[in-house]
Subunit: 417 residues, 2 copies
């Protein structure tokens, strides 16, 4: 499939991240209007709430876009997702008869503010990249014990904190936490000195489940994908994570891209997971390709400086797909809900410059990496970290919008009021 041409001319450029093929879902506000649902098209955002109010988009179930989040639409299920997509494609296609009626609902992207695109019900983060798990395992437990015995059999995951998920562009603050170095007799409470990123994709659960679901059913439940940066305080993590896993090290913030790219926009880019080293049990086997060919990169920009791209990798490097992770998540009967967010786990490639965290890039801080105007082991105050991702189609591009966060200095006294 090639480019779907739109009467929004900027959407037809081969490198535009938001062609008619994409139609990602976001929430935006303008100087005049409160936050509302919209889709990106070319250099514009299409006001979906406005189209619904005007009767240009309707649903059998009644209004689904009259709220400043996509959860109601997601909950309505895959048939409604497809209908909406078909209708918007019809309205925006080159030669559309309703162009004049739709045009007033376009706002320039440069003039809007983007908000969280959905209400996060619960957030789960996985550890499903082979290279990342091997790198981190080697650093923490030695090369012989790098991969835990269960790693090739189940997608290892832990529950994160939904309240800490923020949208791209929201500043965050270096956290305080309890840390203890191996050479210190006692722990101390101080600002994190090893604050890091994790380059991930996030899968957004669209429809709910109440019992175990198959991998195929799980794939059908997924509404779309976002870029995701799972900010991680490595020094806090090292002290707290045994025996029950990461907790405060991962609770400061998780940043997502402003646009949810619907699964249907990603269909042309499906790729299989890598060859299994040992066969999976039947309930975790994939009926078809469940990963996506999404090129990813991480940039770091010091305050007042220029950006250096410090990592380039691809979502296809993952060992487990989001559908497998979601299927595993339900094995115990765990109910899943609209708005649940599943982090893929850090996406590292096989090469040194394809690693998705500073922990790996600087090998635990021992090998500083060069950036324009300096070096880095971990994040320094006022650094801005940017994740980007895109799928390269035949004459078109699918983008997610950047996933950006600036790390402000820690508070001098976190308890001062």
């Amino acid at each position: 499939m090639g480019l779907l041409r739109s009467w929004v001319q900027s959407a037809n450029a081969p490198d535009c991240p938001f062609p008619l093929n994409n139609l990602p879902c976001g929430v935006f506000s303008t100087a005049e209007d409160e936050p509302r649902c919209g889709m990106a098209i070319g250099d514009f955002v299409l006001d979906l709430a406005g189209l619904e109010e005007a009767g240009l988009v309707t649903f059998d179930a009644g209004p689904l876009l009259d709220v400043p989040f996509w959860n109601d639409l997601m909950e309505a299920g895959p048939a409604v997702w497809a209908d909406l997509r078909a209708r918007i494609t019809e309205l925006l296609a080159e030669g559309a008869t309703e162009k004049a009626a739709v045009e007033p609902f376009l706002a320039p992207l440069s003039e809007v503010t983007l908000h969280m695109p959905f209400l996060v019900s619960e957030y789960t983060d996985f550890y499903a990249g082979r290279h990342h798990a091997t790198n981190v395992g080697t650093m923490f437990r030695g090369a012989e014990n790098a991969l835990p015995p269960n790693w090739l059999h189940i997608p290892i995951g832990y529950n994160g904190r939904a309240s800490s998920v923020i949208v791209s562009g929201t500043d965050l603050r270096r956290p305080w936490g309890q840390v203890k170095g191996p050479d210190h007799p006692a722990p101390s409470f101080q600002p994190s000195r090893r604050f890091d990123i994790e380059l991930e994709m996030g899968a957004v659960v669209g429809t709910s489940s109440t019992g175990p679901v198959t991998v195929a059913e799980a794939d059908a439940m997924i509404f779309g994908y976002v870029l995701l940066n799972d900010w991680s305080a490595r020094d806090i993590q090292a002290w707290e994570y045994q025996p029950l896993g990461p907790f405060q090290a991962k609770a400061t913030a998780t940043t997502i891209s402003p646009w949810i790219v619907m699964k249907s926009a990603l269909e042309p880019f499906r790729v299989p997971t890598p060859q299994r080293e040992v066969p999976l049990l039947p309930h975790l086997r994939e009926p078809g390709p469940m990963l996506y060919d999404i090129a990813l990169e991480v940039g770091i920009t010091p305050e007042g400086g220029t950006e250096t791209i410090i990592a380039r990798t691809n979502y296809r490097e993952m060992y487990y797909s989001a559908a497998q992770q979601l299927a595993h998540h339900t094995t115990s009967g765990c109910p899943m809900n609209t708005g649940d967010l599943l982090g893929s786990g850090t996406i590292s490639g096989p090469d040194k410059d394809s690693r998705g965290s500073l922990l790996e890039l600087s090998w635990g801080g021992k090998e500083p990496i060069a950036i324009t105007g300096g070096t880095r082991t971990f994040i320094e105050d006022n650094d801005t970290l940017t994740l980007r991702g895109h799928c390269a189609g035949d004459g078109f591009t699918i983008g997610f919008g950047a996933c950006v966060g600036k790390v402000l200095p820690a508070l001098a006294d976190p308890y001062a009021r």
Copy 2:
């Protein structure tokens, strides 16, 4: 403080769990009415939503009880909680002038159905009982490594799954999961054979926070407490929990008691945490007694059989209080919200019959315990597990209602539709 006498005579019995001193918060329905907020008093439930509709209870902010959950009232904060309590105490006290107006809003407890008392925002579970951590650590890692190095310095916790929290009386089903015994070459997917309870208290967060809070501030944020049973599949847990903690082993269900006992009802029963073995860092020190003297017990009833009490312990055995846990939870800047639920961790005492899990009671399944008509290592199909708790006041009792769950057999095929 002794018994507060009520014109509801059944509330004045010294062993009644719901005297005027208690006024716990629940959600109930009758044959005629939809679920609504109520408080237990004697053998009755008082229809709070009805009182609000009738103008007998009002709030400056407008209606807070016109929804079938307590979250709106909790969000309104401690001053409103105190005002509500004072008003209901006034309405129900012996000699109350408004008795005739209030009496129609009482429904016999025996005729109502109880529902989840609040919407669980997020659920966190801790590992804060010294005896439990030592017992489990000894079984899993040997006596020398029983307590992890961080254990005496921070309340170890992990994020659980809010979607799996259910109210007392809801049946649950034995889960399937991936397990691997040490003698097996490969894992298998099967129903859990080591399904267990964890006897805990749950703290319900009433007001939200956006940055680190002190222990005193955390205590002020807590609305009340419930009994909590953190059902745990030990065989699934053993295979999955390294390196990122429990996941599917704890995601089948967590049962809470139907009544939230407000913190104010527990004030007379405050007790300090045990002597610290090593001093805590200043931000985790308690400004006063933050635990409560709550006697707890666990009963097991086989299908068609009689109940055996298999454990008796007390909430005062915990090493960390809920206020300390909540304060630690915010150190990273993690936002906390109304309706967050914090499990205390398993409450085991020093003696064999004061252990709050079958894992400990049967020492990993090696020492079956005797129950009426048989023995148990872990839960068998159709067993009903009941947690109970009470505070013994001077001439009165504070109860939570039983926290009951029956374990149905696993599905023959979890993927059959």
